[in-house]
């Protein structure tokens, strides 16, 4: 029997992997991708609860999260490009 706890554990693990990515990597693009992983972890939680509660409001919120992620990616990548054009690097410490 798969319970929401399983999904929460999966989500937490994915979240942690994302956090490790943000902490450890220096390539800003990979940091952004780690943030996407974190957002996905949140979505898994939302959808798991939505399925558990038999109410789609969790999915609605997941859609909002995806919209925000899209906005974040657009602006973030714009910043990366602008940054790269000035500094010619994608490492955050240079």
């Amino acid at each position: 029997m798969i319970t929401p706890t399983h999904y929460m554990l999966l989500s937490a693990a994915l979240f942690m992997i994302g956090v490790v990515g943000v902490m450890v990597r220096r390539n800003i693009i990979i940091i952004f991708m780690s943030i996407e992983l974190i957002l996905n972890a949140v979505n898994i939680n939302l959808v798991a609860f939505s399925s558990q509660l038999h109410h789609v409001v969790g999915q609605v919120f997941a859609i909002f999260v995806i919209a925000v992620a899209a906005a974040e990616a657009a602006v973030g990548l714009g910043i990366i490009l602008a940054f790269y054009r000035n500094k010619e690097t994608v490492n955050i410490d240079e």
Binding site: L81, Y84, R85, E88
Partner: protein, 366 residues
């Protein structure tokens, strides 16, 4: 996006749209061409130097190998230069046949041009339509001189052979076919919206600038400069036939296209007049047994399909070969304009412009 590092793209010598072995080194900013270098010489065979070690008759077949899609025109150009040096009077019949051959050759060359130019821009069907008609011309040439590409179809002082019986009828029949086929090309291209978008305003060059760059032939006339050797300094029988010199107005790729499409029609018109008016008479003038022009230098130009094809020959009056032999190839002069034309355009326009200049690398490199 590439502004921190321009991309250097090596186009050719092995590239489907460089029409042979042209190499263009493009410096790109994204897809925009910032600068371009034209590298030539991959087909250099030293025809000019070779000619200085051949006797006057043998050179004719070297001239075949320059503009290999219009070999007969080069033959005529060379022979007329030598005739000018020797001051030989060429019989009228020979001059008429020369006119017919030159104009047929112009149609064949333009067929190849319209086909490849359209193909470069992505319209593949015109290519095969144009080659279908070029085939008819090659058949006519085969009947006249036995060869289909490198004809060696001229002799100093006239023609090697008289035209075969019935040949003129076939030429007239070809003219009739060609009129209908030109309509097909125009249907596919001239008013095609995509074609207009791809060619209008691309590679614009004004008349004075075109003269300054030394452009000649259709690219020059496309910019509205009325220069055609056939009209300005008539040779062969061009002074006895009627034709118009089409001129462009803007000087973009579309104008160059229109000029050549109109030249098709004018060439058909010339061929028809010349074929109907072939006079009877000898085909070779009085030529000395040993060709040895007096010392001196001569320049003679004719209008090849690509532009002004000139021969500059120096004779020392002693040996049986030229002392100095120099060709002014129209493709070479037109190719100089490429760099000016493509600056600021996109990669896709580069192939359109190479096609629009209509260069033959055999002639550029010699």
């Amino acid at each position: 996006m590439f502004d921190t590092n321009e991309l250097v793209l090596n186009m050719g010598p092995q590239h489907p749209s460089t029409h042979g072995v042209l190499r263009v080194v493009l410096r790109l900013d994204g897809e925009k061409v910032v600068d371009a270098d034209t590298v030539i010489g991959y087909l250099h065979r030293g025809i000019e130097k070779l000619s200085e070690n051949r006797n006057w008759t043998q050179i004719i077949l070297l001239t075949d190998r320059m503009d290999y899609v219009a070999a007969a025109t080069s033959n005529v150009g060379y022979c007329e230069t030598v005739e000018k040096m020797l001051q030989i009077e060429v019989p009228r019949r020979a001059r008429y046949v020369r006119t017919i051959l030159c104009e047929l050759q112009r149609i064949a060359s333009h067929c190849l041009w319209v086909g490849t130019h359209a193909m470069d821009i992505g319209a593949m069907t015109v290519f095969l339509y144009a080659f279908r008609e070029r085939e008819l011309i090659l058949d006519l040439f085969e009947e006249f001189c036995g060869a289909r590409l490198t004809y060696n179809s001229m002799r100093i002082g006239g023609l090697p052979l008289d035209i075969p019986p019935g040949w003129d009828k076939k030429v007239l029949e070809f003219c009739r076919i060609m009129d209908g086929k030109l309509y097909e090309y125009e249907e596919l291209l001239t008013h095609n919206r995509i074609w207009l978008e791809r060619t209008k305003g691309i590679g614009v060059i004004s008349g004075p600038n075109a003269v300054g760059l030394g452009l000649c032939g259709p690219p020059l006339r496309g910019s509205g400069v009325p220069r055609d050797v056939r009209k300005d300094e008539p040779y062969a029988a061009y002074d006895e036939v009627e034709f118009d010199v089409p001129l462009g107005t803007v000087g973009d790729t579309y104008d160059r296209y229109l000029v050549r499409m109109e030249e098709f029609k004018q060439s058909v018109r010339i061929v028809r007049q010349a074929t109907e008016g072939i006079p009877e008479g000898p085909i070779v003038g009085k030529v000395p047994r040993l060709i040895k022009p007096a010392a001196g230098e001569t320049y003679h130009a004719i209008e090849s399909p690509k532009g002004e094809l000139g021969f500059f020959i120096v004779s020392d009056g002693k040996s049986t070969n030229p002392y100095r032999f120099r060709v002014r190839p129209p493709s070479f002069c037109n190719l100089q304009g490429l760099r000016t034309l493509i600056k600021g355009h996109l990669v896709a326009d580069v192939v359109a412009l190479i096609g629009s200049l209509d260069v033959v690398l055999g002639e550029v490199d010699r």
